[in-house]
Amino acid sequence: MTSMEKRLQKELQAMTKDPPAGVSVNTNSLTSTLSEWIVDIEGAPNTLYEGERFQLGFKFTSRYPFDSPQVMFIGPNIPVHPHVYSNGHICLSILTEDWSPALSVQSVCLSIVSMLSSCKEKKLPPDNAIYVRTCSKDPKKTRWWYHDNSV
């Protein structure tokens, strides 16, 4: 087993045994090498997204956890949020620049749930139209500008 698989096995075990509130791994989606995951998340109670269900797609390279995972919203319901583009790409610094090998699928999911929870108004990012038209399919190939930590 490669060190990436070993690490992801451990993560999967922790996530299925003791899943954080509103987060669950879709075990049917897992590939044999664990290089792709789908995680179901639910908008937290008393937030703008209460009761809504979303799906996050994770892709890992063989260099994980040194390479950050590619993470985006997938499926029919993409949250309307100032840091989430309508194609599912997420502007969140821990997914690129501030990724650390000590982070995990779980900590990424929790950051995304908390990003949704602190949102005060459902609206698209201001540059959504041009971004979605010109961006790469891989959100890790975007040079993100992180400027606003309040939402």
Binding site: A14, E97, D98, S100, P101, A102, C135, R143
Partner: protein, 268 residues
Amino acid sequence: MDQNADASFDPSKNYDEDTLAQQREIEKEIAASQAMVSQLHTFDEIVEEYSQEDAIYRQKIEDLKSRFKNLRKTRGDGNCFYRAFGFAYLEKLLNDGKEYKRFLDIAQKSKDELIGLGFPQFTLEDFHDTFMDVVKMVENPGTVDGLFQAFNDAGLSDYFVVYLRLLVSGHLQQNADSYVYFIDGERSVKEFCSQEVEPMGKESDHIHIVSLTKALQIAICVEYMDREGEKCNSFKFNPFESLADDTDTAPAFTLLYRPGHYDILYPL
């Protein structure tokens, strides 16, 4: 930059992919051409390369030659401080059994302290296990060559670097009150750690060195080779100076700092 100033800028085109591909290329080139930790070099071997950056370095290398015999280079990938620190210290422990025992104890206990601070156990354990494997190479019986191999094996070397980064982060968070005023920008200590300490490749500054020497209780010396003056300035990081039983602790090893980079120095 004003985008309109560039006549060829096309706002409907995506430039990010090219820019990032270029960055990856540069990283690959660095990885292919520089060992994570190099063999010993003499100053005559590196003087031409180092003085290309600035002619003043030629003079400063003469100054180093009067006090040091060799140097070991580290890869310029943003992790150089941690790699230089780790290698130089373990190399020193090869000949200091008493200090090794002290360090082993601190290293072993550090895992639970970090978990106590909220680092997730299952990711931390991996890094700690590999860190301890590398540390224990000092005793069975350790050789410089064994350490050299380990520090050039990404599967060990990078894990070791991650753990040192977590130790720095842990120390800063435990002592947040003493460090909060040394952090630029309106960031909390925790934010600073997740942006400037924990990610791989983020360079180290004074605050990182202070934290690591305090977390592990190791005194070190850094020779600063900057563009000012004629000689290198040495600076001692002594984690014991605030303690009552202050003895003049000899630095465990000396690093060479050139703006943005750390190498290891070996005294005459």
